[in-house]
């Protein structure tokens, strides 16, 4: 079983893909009300958004992590950024490797992985639907859960959690 | 990829075999076996033939003890006290937030009491997860086995405390083992919270009126009994008394002793009979108790300025006297009472009287309190006389 740690991956990618790996700044997700747990520094590899495709293909072709398991978006409202987590597995087993990408909340845009991993299709559509991350190069980037006329991105932390403005809008 | 402790099997597709209907015949054989087998019932888990239908309204599955449907509150059969102390743990644990609790307050002091005033569960939104029952530190909320909840009433599934209350005896029929596990702790905690519950607070709603009435009745009885002189007791030989009568007598004697010591509770009318053994006697005793109470109230009102008692004791005495008088007036015809409860009430009355007596000599602590108590006692007495 391959046991490549995130740290090793980071050094390898620094060597092979210069400029693609960023230093992860600590996240201020802990609201002040919850006391002094401190900022959260991710151990995973943080990738420059424009170099995401290179990094993913490097992971697939050079490192052998061919299986794209999951794409998750997290909205860090206090840090004013969206983080997209790509999770890859090696088919010989072992733990995952994650690539993280940080985007601005105002204009989140990423290259799509769907042409290379068709399995990313629904993941990306889901991320677009719920968080508004636009994947350039996606063949069919439409809302997947919500109806097409829906406005706003319901999973963002600043989306109103109560009330239904759509009922009001119809009246 | 290599695999630890096991192999990779490539499924055999059985290619190259002449397929001329053998598989179809095999399928027919399987179904035929089931048809033949269906004339008897599938009895246990090791059988795969036989009907396994349970004809629901006629026969029912035996539900396992751990089965959970909707949460209910349980109360103690003997005292009528609910186990719930309104600690809000269940409301906090509830994922869909369908539990709403109001904690009871002592009407006199305004303090919170470990009991719920109202307890609402919205059954329609409840998801039967059982987290409330797990979270409850007092084992007061349990998952019921009743599942036929269908209703055509939209609000019919909003269950209030009166709908939710189930006796422990009911819960032991559906889940005896689960109750045995927690019984000891739960009952211990219940005793603790009963001590902090004044009056009928914390008693299951449909029982609280009954229990309150009975309590008042018995207190009135106890109040009637105290003045009985100790030497009047041997009218009947002790050996011939039934245990209940004996107990009542004992209680009465105790009350009398205490009452004798307490100046506030002194009543002139002596009780000729021993104990309320029959209806007539009970009636008589009740009337006498009323009189005694009235007198006692008057006496206490009169004596209050002179001998200022402790505020609490005075208040207690006044309320009790008032209750006793009220009960006596209202329920005098209500005949033979529960012997056990009578005993309990008598003992309690005796204790109270004793306490009052003990505290009476204690010097006035606070002028204001004494005055307040006196006024309250006077009011009560006035009300009674009306």
């Amino acid at each position: 079983m391959p046991q490549l740690s995130a740290e090793e991956l980071r050094t390898r990618m620094r060597r092979d893909l210069p400029g693609a790996v960023l230093e992860a700044a600590p996240l201020q997700i802990v609201p002040p009300a919850h006391g002094s747990k401190g900022p959260f520094v991710t151990p995973d590899v943080l990738v420059e958004p424009t170099r995401l495709l290179d990094a993913a293909l490097y992971l697939r072709d050079q490192v052998g992590y061919t299986y794209l398991s999951d794409i998750a978006v997290v909205d860090y409202l206090t840090d004013n950024l969206l983080e997209v987590v790509y999770r890859f597995y090696h088919l010989d087993g072992g733990p995952s490797l994650a690539l993280k990408v940080r985007l601005s909340r105002e204009n989140p845009e990423l290259p799509s992985l769907t042409p290379h991993w068709p399995g990313a299709n629904f993941h990306e559509r889901e991320a677009y639907d719920l968080y508004g991350v636009v994947f350039t190069g996606h063949p069919f980037l439409r809302r997947i859960y919500m109806w097409d006329e829906f406005e706003g991105f319901p999973m963002r932390k600043d989306f109103p959690k109560q009330g239904d403005k759509y009922i009001g809008a119809e009246e | 990829m290599d695999i630890q402790r096991g192999n990779i099997i490539v499924m055999d597709r059985r290619r190259g075999k002449l397929r001329a209907g053998q598989g179809l015949l095999q399928g027919l054989k399987v179904v035929w076996d089931h048809w033949i087998g269906s004339f008897r019932k599938n009895e246990n888990f090791s059988q795969i033939h036989g009907t396994f239908t349970i004809e629901y309204p006629d026969e029912r599955m035996k539900l396992p003890q751990a089965y959970r449907n909707m949460p209910v509150l349980i109360y103690d059969d003997e005292t009528g006290h609910e186990l719930c102390t309104a600690c809000y743990q269940c409301a906090r644990a509830c994922p869909p937030e369908v539990i709403h609790i109001t904690q009871a307050k002592d009407p006199n002091t305004g303090k919170m009491v470990p009991a719920s005033l109202e307890f609402i569960i919205e059954y329609d939104a409840c998801m039967s997860c059982g987290l409330c029952a797990e979270a409850c530190p007092f084992d007061a909320i349990k998952m019921d086995h009743f599942f036929e909840l269908a209703t055509d009433d939209r609000m019919g599934l909003l269950q209030r405390k009166a709908d939710l209350n189930r006796p422990i005896s009911y819960y032991t029929t559906i889940a005896p083992d689960l109750w045995d596990e927690v019984k000891e702790g739960a009952m211990k905690k219940l005793q603790g919270s009963i001590k902090r519950r004044p009056g009928v607070i914390g008693i299951a709603g449909h029982l609280s009126d009954k229990i309150a009435a009975r309590r008042r009745e018995l207190e009135a009885e106890a109040a009637a009994a105290p003045p009985a002189p100790a030497d009047a007791a041997p009218a009947a030989p002790a050996g011939k008394l039934s245990p209940e009568e004996k107990a009542a007598k004992l209680a009465a004697m105790r009350a009398a002793k205490a009452g004798g010591a307490a100046p506030a509770a002194e009543a002139p009318a002596p009780a000729p009979e021993l104990s309320p053994a029959d209806a007539k006697a009970a009636k008589l005793a009740a009337i006498k108790a009323a009189n005694a109470a009235k007198k006692a109230a008057e006496a206490s009102a009169a004596e209050a300025p002179a001998a200022p008692v402790d505020e609490k004791a005075a208040k207690l005495a006044a309320i009790r006297a008032a209750n006793a008088a009220k009960a006596a007036a209202a329920e005098a015809p209500a005949a033979p009472v529960d012997e056990k409860a009578a005993k309990l009430a008598a003992i309690r009355a005796a204790n109270a009287a004793k306490a009052a007596a003990a505290e009476a000599p204690a010097a006035p602590v606070d002028e204001k309190a004494a005055k307040l108590a006196a006024i309250r006692a006077a009011n009560a007495a006035k009300k009674k006389s009306e």
Binding site: F40, G94, P118, Y145 | R5, M11, S46, P64
Partner: protein
């Protein structure tokens, strides 16, 4: 030249064999599919956001509702994620109980899934009824252990909610007597039946490389010939203590998926037999006494996954140090396994669409979340 027009058919959302409210916009040329677009979201309830306003434990019953066939497996994935995040140890006995329940879940899911698949092929529910019979027996066991048949809510952080009742083991042993007979019978009904062979052989082929690039998981991935089972590839819980095989298919069609599922039931039974052997020696109680109801993990993120009967179910949790998860993401196997549906169906007949869909074995509660 004769020109024919393509016909667009909506299969669903109200259709007998879409396994819930699922819609496929099918473009057909005669009866041949030229295009298929899945449309869903009718059951969407924003599960992930509901989870963000609940405490960690309160989410446990919600995970039951993801894939309501395998609530135990969902519980397992979520419990693993939170335990990893907080760092809770699970006692040995609890681990055995967990694996026991999850393997029973696998059997019941496959029994049901095969039945539904054959139902989609047009059988009149006989195979389904046989599968349901065994499923009901297992659900009886679940009910006696957890209190509910479907929404078990049985797992807690650091163990399971309750220990087994005394009548559980005898009934489980009875069930294991019936299980081989049931699986053999299912195999006899399915494996060589000429009609079924015609309907399933070379239908919905998903070659190995395509399956990997589509990120499909579970029996579907294994039917395509990839021996990837998370229980072997990244053993979690105590799966490294059991001997069991990983069945894979040779072609990757519907028939292989049927065969793989039948074999997985056998392997699950093997695991359960080993559990019955080892359970009496297991240390510890059914729950870690230190694991409390309210957990407050340190800030951080975690991804934990299990091999549910449908495939890889993963939970990605981000904690901000409070009582509630900051982000809760479900990587649902049914949802991802649906991705290749359009490509798998293209070129086949309308009747094959439902069969291919049935062979994916989706549950809309998990797809729409």
């Amino acid at each position: 030249m004769l020109k024919t027009e393509e016909l667009q058919i909506n299969i669903g959302p109200q259709h007998p064999s879409t396994h819930g409210v699922f819609r496929m916009i099918v473009t057909v040329d005669g009866e041949t599919i030229t295009d298929l677009k899945p449309v869903f979201g009718y059951l969407h309830r924003n599960h992930e956001q509901i989870a963000e306003v609940n405490t960690y434990l309160q989410n446990m019953p919600y995970t039951d509702r993801l894939d309501y066939f395998n609530s135990m497996a969902n519980n397992h994935a979520y419990a693993l994620a939170v335990e990893k995040l907080v760092g809770i140890e699970v006692p040995e006995r609890a681990e055995y109980l967990r694996v026991l329940m999850v393997e029973l879940t696998r059997i019941l899911n496959h029994a049901g899934a095969l039945g539904f698949l054959i139902n989609d092929m047009g059988a009149w529910q006989t195979q389904l009824a046989f599968g349901m019979r065994e499923r009901e027996k297992i659900l009886d066991l679940f009910e006696s252990a957890s209190g509910a048949r479907l929404m078990c809510n049985y797992f807690r952080f650091g163990g399971v909610a309750r220990d087994l009742p005394p009548d559980f083991m005898p009934r489980l042993k009875d069930l294991l007597i019936a299980m081989p007979a049931f699986v053999d019978e299912m195999e006899r009904l399915l494996r060589e039946n000429e009609i079924l062979l015609q309907r399933s052989e070379n239908i919905g082929i998903l070659p190995k490389e395509v399956a990997i690039s589509y990120s499909v998981t579970g029996p579907m991935l294994r039917a395509s010939g990839v021996p990837y089972d998370i229980r072997k590839a990244e053993p979690y819980s105590i799966y490294d203590r059991f001997d069991f095989d990983v069945p894979i298919g040779a072609v990757g069609d519907v028939y292989d998926r049927i065969l793989v599922r039948i074999e997985e039931m056998r392997q699950s039974k093997r695991i359960i037999e080993q559990i019955i052997q080892q359970l009496p020696d297991a240390q510890g109680g059914h729950i870690n006494p230190k694991a409390r109801q309210n957990v407050r993990p340190p800030a951080g993120d975690v991804y934990a996954r299990v091999e549910t009967p449908k495939g890889e179910l993963g939970f990605y949790l981000v904690s901000d140090g409070s009582l509630k998860p900051y982000r809760y993401k479900v990587r649902a196997p049914s949802f991802i396994n649906l991705t290749p549906l359009g490509d798998m169906c293209r070129g086949y007949k309308v009747a094959d669409v439902v069969v291919i869909l049935g062979s994916i074995d989706i549950v809309m509660g998990e797809v729409d979340r």
